[in-house]
Symmetry: C2
Subunit: 111 residues, 2 copies
């Protein structure tokens, strides 16, 4: 596919994780699989877990540990109010930045 999106994912990956968690209670491994399915094929567990640790440290998520019959226990994440606020701010920033970049892209070469 496309090579090395890593720099372009900075600042958006955390927002994607917030969005995925907001849909339904989920856990790191599954979040990684969803990001891969979305098209971000090179995102690995390690990356997602560091984001989840950050979300926890910033008190944006609630956490519940549950057993699994597929392997070791899972840590399920849900957004709390602060997390929902952060997610909304993320989308506002994204709207702004994406619109400006697209504006730059579509502008005629106006000398």
């Amino acid at each position: 596919m496309l090579e090395n999106l890593t720099e372009m994912l900075k600042g958006v990956l955390e927002g994607c994780v917030l969005e995925i968690i907001s849909r339904k209670e989920t856990y790191g491994y599954e979040i990684t699989r969803q990001l891969n399915a979305l098209g971000f094929a090179d995102v690995v567990e390690g990356t997602v877990y560091t984001i989840l640790v950050r979300l926890e440290k910033n008190k944006l998520v609630d956490i519940e540990k549950k057993p699994s019959d597929m392997g070791p226990p899972r840590k399920f994440f849900t957004l709390n109010n602060a997390g929902r606020d952060e997610l909304q701010k993320f989308w506002e920033k994204w709207e702004f930045v994406a619109s400006k970049i697209n504006q730059l892209k579509e502008e005629e070469s106006n000398v």
Copy 2:
């Protein structure tokens, strides 16, 4: 305006600078002003100059120093072939990432 876009600008600011240079020969200070006018109000000279140094180091630009009647001499930048290739790759990456993020944003909450 919006607070702290810095993380979201990582990975796209260099592409914006490439695009701006591709329009017409220009220099650091003017590029900064154009980015500010675009809406990225908090981008400062220091940030743009580090990007320009990087572009030079990666041999994506040609450089010509010219006197100015407004102040110190200016270093004018133009894209070379490698720079144009890099710019095209940037837009391809942007299209990909932006489309995926928007897809995530617009998806119905599909449990």
